[in-house]
């Protein structure tokens, strides 16, 4: 994978909340067409990095680059047509139906007073089909189960039809069946539809299994990146998480599988 084929990158960014620095002089390049997963312990700055990459927070220093231009100098709507983000905490508006919520992802493609167009309906239908929620279209989102609801949110970001897709811990709150279903869906989006994905995950074995590019972070710095099979070692896990572990091959996928040693 060559670094030239990358639309999105952070260059020497310093990220901070409330005067508390989360990361300093951090640089990262998101390879096009790959399924990138960011892992790391709590508060290592992975969500913050995702927010910076998606223009939601502005770096204190350094720049995020989209297609060779500083992302904060591009028009907000234009960025939103290239890059979609599913943040961790989103509120479901009271009484909204599935189709209406998914339709909100079309905002960056609409003009100020422009109405709903045919291509908007198509995008919504495609997004709902891809996430297998078309049969729920007229149901109120509040009545759905956690797994269904999460798929609705993902459909909303899909309806945005962006080549780049950033997801912050999309599997949290889901049971294992729905987690795997969602990871399979993301892989399909990446492989079949060619979307570039950047996903923050907590579950290491899922990260190793589905990622084609893995970024391991600790205390606001990138410790290692590359294919999971190339970078995952017992030493790396100890260095990133302070956890003793044994690495074996996943019996199904053959990817690295982390088994904690414990005491």
């Amino acid at each position: 994978m060559s670094l030239s084929s990358s639309r999105l990158a952070a260059r020497d960014v310093t990220l901070a909340y409330d005067n508390k620095t989360v990361a300093e002089q951090l640089s990262v390049t998101i390879p096009d067409g790959e399924f990138t997963v960011i892992i790391g312990p709590n508060a290592c700055g992975k969500s913050t990095l995702l927010k910076a990459l998606s223009r939601v927070i502005k770096p204190v220093a350094g720049q995020v680059i989209l297609d060779g231009q500083a992302i904060h100098q591009l028009p907000a709507k234009e960025v939103a047509r290239q890059l979609g983000l599913l943040p961790q905490n989103s509120h479901t508006p009271a009484g909204i139906t599935v189709a209406d919520l998914v339709g909100r992802g079309r905002y960056p493609h609409q003009s100020l007073f422009g109405g709903w167009r045919l291509e908007d309906s198509q995008a919504v239908a495609e997004a709902m089909a891809a996430t297998h929620i078309d049969h729920l279209a007229d149901r109120p989102v509040e009545q759905l189960s956690g797994g269904q609801r999460q798929r609705v949110w993902i459909a909303m970001v899909l309806a945005q039809q962006t080549p780049l897709l950033l997801l912050d811990e999309p599997t949290t709150w889901l049971d294992i069946t729905h987690q795997i279903e969602l990871m399979e869906l993301l892989r399909e989006l990446n492989q079949r539809h060619g979307r570039t994905l950047v996903v923050v995950l907590h579950e290491l074995n899922q990260a190793c299994r589905y990622a084609s590019h893995l970024i391991a972070m600790r205390e606001g710095a990138i410790i290692a990146e590359g294919r999971p099979s190339e970078i995952i070692t017992a030493e790396l896990i100890e260095q990133v998480y302070g956890l003793k572990a044994v690495i074996i091959a996943d019996p199904i996928a053959g990817t690295p599988m982390i088994v904690p040693v414990g005491k």
Binding site: P75, A76, K77, P87, H91, A94, R104
Partner: protein, 327 residues
């Protein structure tokens, strides 16, 4: 707009229209619809025209415009704060506007334009103070509401103090005004309220879609290409305008802003198109409240604010009880 909100929109429009008509017909001199038609088309006796065109019509129009303005203002606050309690009267913007009006009443009595301006400035100032006190790297709705309630208490006691320390006649007229009343509105008030409300509603129409998206959270709205802080500030400004202008003209009428968005949402059962139904609900509430205030307790005429406070108070109580049970 979808089918159900559209049907409700038409229904509300019909309701507003019929209450307007009966408000125009009913009074010390009752009129038939035929008489009314003659008068409004420029025929009929001049004395009656004075009653209907110069007295009743502006009152009805003011109720419609101010009710709509208050309803939309409440809808904006509730949306921004993601809380059904976040209305301008709970936050103390009414009380703030009243402080400004009170000051003008002492200095230049009966200058409507100065009163409106003072109401606007002091409501905006109150809003800014609440916003700044609640700001801590962004706004948490709950903190904003609590600080608003505190500021409101402070302003109410200030207003009370000013009223007890002025001359009796000023205190009387200020007291009457503070109850909220449509007595004495005329075409001058309509000429002031109408353009302000129309301009503000155009602004709201431009920002409505963004407002709906921001209800899903700032991060998501930002990722969808919305400049969130700027949009929020614009919406807050419009909501303040839509509270301050009615307050200057008819006094601090409570609860329309709190209740109208709730009713509209419950009627439509979906968030799409709710804003325009909210405006109509606000108009309908204020029209009906004023109608009752004028005709229901004859020979007494109550200030409209008394009606809205008593109806709204019951509603607020039930809302609080339900919120408390849920959490």
């Amino acid at each position: 707009m979808k089918k159900r909100p559209l049907i409700i929109f038409c229904f509300l429009l019909l309701a507003v229209g019929s209450v307007m008509l009966s408000a125009l017909c009913r009074g010390a001199i009752p009129l038939s619809l035929h008489d009314l038609w003659l008068l409004l088309t420029g025929n009929g006796p001049a004395g009656l025209r004075l009653v209907v065109v110069e007295w009743r019509l502006p009152r009805v129009l003011i109720a419609v415009f101010c009710g709509a303005a208050l309803g939309i203002s409440g809808a904006i606050f509730q949306s921004i704060l993601r809380n059904p309690l976040g209305s301008p009267d709970v936050l103390g913007l009414n009380a703030g506007a009243f402080s400004g009006v009170l000051a003008v009443m002492l200095l230049w009595p009966s200058n409507l334009f100065a009163m409106t301006l003072a109401s606007l400035v002091s409501a905006a100032l109150t809003g800014a103070i609440i916003y700044l006190l609640a700001w801590r790297q962004g706004i948490t709705p709950y903190r904003l509401i609590l600080i608003g309630i505190g500021i409101r208490a402070l302003l109410m006691s200030f207003n009370g103090w000013v009223m007890t320390s002025t001359s009796l006649s000023t205190a009387m007229s200020a007291g009457l005004w503070s109850a909220g009343s449509l007595n004495g509105v005329n075409w001058q008030s309509v000429n002031l309220v109408f353009p302000a409300v129309v301009i503000a509603l155009l602004g709201v129409a431009m920002l409505a879609k963004r407002m709906r998206l921001m209800e899903m959270g700032d991060d998501l709205a930002c990722a969808l290409g919305i400049r969130t802080e700027r949009t929020r500030l614009g919406l807050l400004f419009l909501a303040t305008l839509l509270t301050a202008v009615p307050t200057a003209v008819i006094g601090p009428v409570s609860f329309v802003a709190l209740v109208a968005p709730q009713i509209a949402r419950r009627l439509a059962n979906s968030p799409s198109g709710v804003l325009w139904n909210t405006a109509l609900c606000g108009s309908l509430l204020l029209l009906v409240a004023d109608y009752l205030a004028q005709h229901a307790f004859l020979p007494y005429q109550l200030p409209v604010g008394v009606i809205t406070v008593s109806v709204g108070g019951i509603y607020l109580l039930s809302l609080l009880v339900r919120e408390a049970r849920r959490s």
